[in-house]
Symmetry: C2
Subunit: 203 residues, 2 copies
């Protein structure tokens, strides 16, 4: 299960809700493809959990928008764009859940579906952190992966948990399974670093 | 209008249809956000055209899948994953079209929607090719942008046309408007190259 709590009703700024929905929905597409690519049922199940989480966010957001419109047609008109983007992110998360369900339902990845992952595979990578890796013990943020290699760590599997979209302060531990996305070259370099074949980052 | 022809019915391999749907649907999300970010109505309209194109592909794909199943339940079961991924890409393209419609309908980008683009802006960039730029006259493929900078050119506006997902053989011309996506550092470097402030690629 990913690390997030079930959201009870409380006022949350519309902006924060929308940012979370947008970022999460795009992440979910990559997580769903990762789950199919690596045939990882736990990750696929987490995508389904995230989809329900987005539904909760969508529900809260619609309420907040209604309140923000303050009964005023002009305010309502201004907010329709927000509502539209929110609905679009919800649709994207549904699509991700549909893909994840292929894995959880054991439908099996048909060779044709496998072939569409050829391009995905350049962008998404799974690696296990070895004890002697230079990244072991480091905080995610200290690695500066986006700037140095054009990649992001989108999920960490530790014991039985997936940590989705880890924070900069998250420390990488030996045996962590990482899923990254990004530039093919950076992806290759980072896999070598994580698995201890490369002992220092290229400058 | 983007460069593609309206598809008349003809047999196309399921694999080719699915790959095109998947790649195009993800591209559309970035194009739709680009259209909103740069308030570009023509690009937004092209996203709507692409959405109808995906609908055509979905229609052809469903027919091809029915034919491929050959009336056999086992074959049908094998193909259900393909059909599911196709439907998911269709949903994603619908979501992209919804976002694009905010621009074409002049709904206006509410500040809250603008704020969610802060992160998008790191990944998506628009630049005009200057006459004295080192990339002017070069073919897209020869620049090796994915490997060198972790970025891709996702669209080129030339005169009144958008060239969506340009081929490696496409030549960049002065006054071309490029939209790229990718790593923030590479994005910055490429903008400087395109606009003539940087005279050679960093090694």
């Amino acid at each position: 299960m990913p690390r997030f709590e079930r959201i009870e009703y409380k006022p949350i700024p519309v902006r924060d809700l929308l940012v979370e929905m947008k970022n999460l929905s795009e992440l979910m597409i990559d997580l769903a493809y990762s789950a199919a690519l690596f045939n990882d049922k736990e990750l696929a199940e987490d995508v389904l959990v995230l989809e329900r989480h987005i539904d909760d966010l969508a529900y809260l957001l619609e309420m907040e928008i209604m309140i923000a419109a303050r009964g005023d047609p002009k305010d309502a008109e201004d907010l329709i764009g927000v509502s539209t983007v929110a609905a679009a992110t919800d649709k994207i998360s549904d699509a991700a859940a549909d893909i994840a369900a292929i894995v959880t339902r054991d439908i099996g990845v048909h060779p044709i579906v496998g072939s569409i992952f050829e391009k995905v595979e350049e962008r998404l990578m799974k690696a296990t952190v070895k004890e002697d890796s230079v990244i072991s013990g480091k905080q995610v943020g200290s690695l500066d992966l986006a700037a140095r290699m054009g990649i992001d760590i989108i999920a960490i599997r530790r014991n039985k948990d997936w940590i989705i979209n880890p924070k900069a302060s998250e420390q990488l531990l030996p045996e962590d399974i990482l899923i990254t996305r990004g530039a093919p070259l950076g992806t290759k370099e980072f896999k070598d670093l994580a698995e201890g074949r490369l002992k220092q980052m290229e400058e």
